[in-house]
Symmetry: C2
Subunit: 555 residues, 2 copies
């Protein structure tokens, strides 16, 4: 039997588009005499559909897609994810289902059991949990057909205050009793650079435990905050046989008998290359892909961003140029009286390296204009953060005016360290349709910059080497108000990703007063992050939908 | 036996403050010879604590509060809500628990079964669901002790695409078999003006079904978006006996024997006065309370807002003055070349009526300054929405500069109709630390204004009577680009609150093309609402945490 894995890029609520993607894949599979093609979790509507699942019209369109897809299965059978209505009077209205379609009929429907409700996942908000376990028979092969987390039951959840097994039952344990020949798992599992091997480990554990091959189909594509890398895999009982290209649409087929043959010499060793450089490369690819797909799906070609002469905007520019092309990115320098000369020269050098044209608009005239109108209110009051914010906001207004007039999306250039401690101005440098680096710590920003510069000096060394500064007042440096990033970032990682208690962070080698100050800064800037642009998520815990904190609290 | 209901205003994560509130209530209860005092759901930490529940330090502080509270129960027993660690190795790490503390001991812990996962609720994200049902004995009285939704099991959930019973089991049915004498329910149930009677109906159904008295304790207080009205109640088998004052901290005690005595003549008829005026009055009270508590808990006294001469900012000003006092609210007029004369005169009249001083800062100088710097980019391009947005953003910058310099919170004045269709400028009139009217439809804005004017002309009639306009270009009217609000608002309600399919909305009396256009506007402005300020929620479906929609989707 020939089984194909279709790793496709779906668009949420684009029923016609998603259906056409799948139809094309089926047509190609017919030519290759594939017996069964596998699409990913909730493929008909795209993942995550969020509260669209609460709309009757949306569910009806999902059902219609399944009907139309069923019509295409005269030669190739299909496994595909879609929501399905729960026929019971009680419980959530839907199941998160996998359909097996063959010869223009629905052969089987299997529902998801382990519904994730952590980080960005809220599946129990929409779906009832399955409690019946039956394998599926297709052309004499018994398939344990599961959806995403259903094969993750045995995974301890890290990063809660003590490790715990999230789920109380194991769908695969039930299914294994029925002696399946293979496992097929359809998924929608997002990328996380600090969990690069987690998915592979789970898949390997499953084949080791149950001793049969596993076909793992994940979607690829970026949906606002979430980046899905695909990285679909095929495993035999010994380990990974093949892995589809990350961040790429791809369909590959496999002859089942070869996988199951005793002559099979075992897994090709697909090393999870977990070197720091590989991880940095994956972050780079994820960010470029995240920008590219956001623009495509929003129907925009062009990006604008402010270029300060600092590291963050330099990196954002490089990523945007890689994603959209140098002709489609407009960097704007907006120097003020506090800007250093090297801000301009470094920015111009970077722009020249990338082949982009840099606009230059000074902010002092607007600064003077605002300040002269505010004289009656400001008179006699000392300069403070107000004037710094004012500069940042004038820049934000300039960038938005250009974005509106020239039909571009503004890219936000703040990094995760700044976003964490609130070192940013609401309605100023926090503006943007998409935050590119909002889930990238400052130390990781440098890692990616060095990765980009590995062969030639794309980002001027001067940008990499100077001390980080917001340049909002004379001789300002980030380290005036913050610990150095080599101290700040690990504390933030302990607190945000790992949710470690203060005592544990201190124990790992930081001063208590520094730890407490950093955590206090994080908590007290929740009000700013509430209004953050969508942030490309590349870690297991980004700011945004996956991290929900009260604003009004005693912090 | 004397039972007291303590309807208190907790602050999230303020363990010391919350503990002191409860200790004071216990001290007063001792004087009144109360046997048992009841505090609300998760009272020790405040509700909703959100992802703070994932932090070990936070849970430890909750446990410490329970320990300290237990020490205070030598004379008066206590029922209080707190998270408790799930001792099992599998499943979520916590339970949402009710503790019965008496004579310095933990007498019983009962866990919540029905964990809400809809709208703003994500309890299954944190808590394992209870599956054991046992009544609690205290001084010879058998108590069915439940938490919030545990007595809502029999309620069909409205507003999903067809009515369904959310939960598959009924905790009270299990408990009823053990013949309890009374029910005690501790809650954290937010206010919703379009569900004013829902809570009372549920409580009445419970006493009717089980034939025993019910003590219902709800928290009061505003926590950013969520407003808890309290409205705690006592019911005997015939209906409501007493209801605590909404939006007010209060402790009241009841002699159980009087409630249960056969001589009891039955429920005092507490009519749910569901007249439109009552509903409007409750919205007014909720909004004033929401502002007041937000400022108190954020540690601010003073508010600033832009006063345009239109209805929304006029109403916001009245509400802010009521909440904070006229000396603590700074309205700012920011006229442009497009502002009408009546914008100024009406604003001044309103300010005079309220005893507030109005600032006046023109925006044209800044407008000219920006436009002259933007000439190279804008030359030869027609005026469009860019220039309108620019005005709005200059106003946003002015207001934020004043807010920063004078230590005030900016109040956002957009209404729900505008927020729904995206009729607002990001980083302009969408600015603010709190959106006062973001959950109030334009037609409801007028209702509340008329309610305020019921005795005297607080808001000048001219403001109520003129056609709504953003005044961002000559002779602009809202109705140039939007259906009139009498058509727009009901369509929005059908789509947002009721989640009705298009066909059903059309059937209820609207033109299909208007309905489709409105829904398209709502969907296409998700990207703006992603960056909205927190909105005071006064309906069953506000923009914010309770409504989660993809930005990147085919709308």
């Amino acid at each position: 039997m020939k089984i194909a894995i279709a790793q496709l890029n779906y668009r949420i609520a684009d029923f016609e588009g998603n259906l056409n993607l799948m139809k094309n894949a089926i047509r190609d599979a017919e030519k290759e005499e594939v017996d069964l093609i596998v699409f990913s979790e909730l493929a008909v509507c795209g993942y995550p559909p969020l509260d669209l699942l609460e709309q009757r019209d949306f569910i009806d369109k999902c059902s219609e897609s399944i009907r139309l897809l069923t019509e295409c299965t005269s030669k190739v059978a299909v496994i595909v994810g879609a929501p399905v209505i729960n026929p019971n009077e009680k419980g959530k209205k839907l199941y998160n289902a996998a359909f097996l379609l063959s010869e223009k009929k629905v052969l089987a429907i299997r529902n998801k059991t382990l519904l994730p409700t952590y980080d960005i996942f809220d599946e129990y908000r929409y779906f009832e949990k399955n409690i019946e376990f039956n394998i599926v028979k297709f052309k004499g092969v018994s398939i344990a057909l599961t959806i995403c987390e259903d094969i993750w039951d045995d995974q301890p959840v890290e990063n809660t205050f003590s490790r715990t097994r999230l789920y109380t039952i194991s769908p695969m344990d039930f299914l294994a009793k029925q002696n399946p020949d293979i496992m097929i798992n359809i998924s929608a599992s997002p990328f996380a650079a600090n969990r690069l091997n987690a998915r592979e480990e789970v898949l390997k554990q499953n084949v080791a435990k149950y001793g049969i091959p596993l076909f793992y189909c994940n979607q690829v594509g970026a949906n606002t905050e979430l980046i899905f890398d695909g990285s679909s895999m095929v495993l035999d009982r010994n380990g990974i046989i093949d892995r589809l290209t990350p961040f790429t649409e791809e369909v590959r087929s496999y002859v089942l008998e070869n996988l199951m043959s005793p002559a099979n010499t075992g897994a090709i060793e697909f090393e999870s290359n977990l070197s720091d450089e590989y991880r940095t490369e994956m972050m780079y690819k994820a960010l470029v892909f995240g920008i590219k797909d956001y623009f495509r799906k929003m129907g925009f070609n062009r990006a604008i961003l402010g270029l300060s002469g600092g590291m963050d905007s330099a990196l954002t520019l490089v990523l945007a140029v890689e994603a959209l092309g140098c002709e489609n990115v407009m960097p704007v320098m907006m120097p003020s009286r506090f800007s250093s000369d090297h801000s301009i020269t470094d920015s111009l050098e970077l722009a020249a390296n990338l082949g982009v044209t840099c606009k230059r608009i000074p902010v002092d005239p607007m600064m003077d204009s605002f300040l002269s109108q505010l004289v009656p209110e400001f008179e006699g009051k000392a300069e403070d953060v107000t004037e710094e914010n004012l500069q940042a906001r004038i820049r934000g207004v300039i960038l938005m005016a250009l974005a509106n007039k020239l039909n571009m999306i503004l890219l936000n250039t703040s990094n995760k360290s700044e976003a964490a401690v609130g070192y940013a101005t609401l309605y100023g440098d926090m503006n943007g349709g998409l935050s590119v680096l909002g889930d990238v710590y400052k130390t990781e920003v440098y890692d990616i910059a060095r990765y980009i510069n590995r062969n030639r000096e794309v980002i001027p060394y001067n940008i990499l080497e100077k001390a980080p500064s917001a340049e909002l007042r004379p001789n300002q440096k980030d380290s005036d108000s913050l610990p150095v990033y080599e101290v700040l970032d690990p504390i933030l990682y302990h607190y945000i990703e790992m949710k470690d208690p203060i005592a544990a962070i201190v124990e790992s080698g930081f001063q208590r007063e520094v730890v407490e100050r950093v955590i206090s800064l994080v908590n007290r800037s929740e009000y700013k992050r509430f209004q953050t642009p969508p942030i490309l998520r590349i870690s297991s815990k980004a700011f945004g939908m996956g991290r929900r904190m009260p604003i009004v609290a005693r912090y």
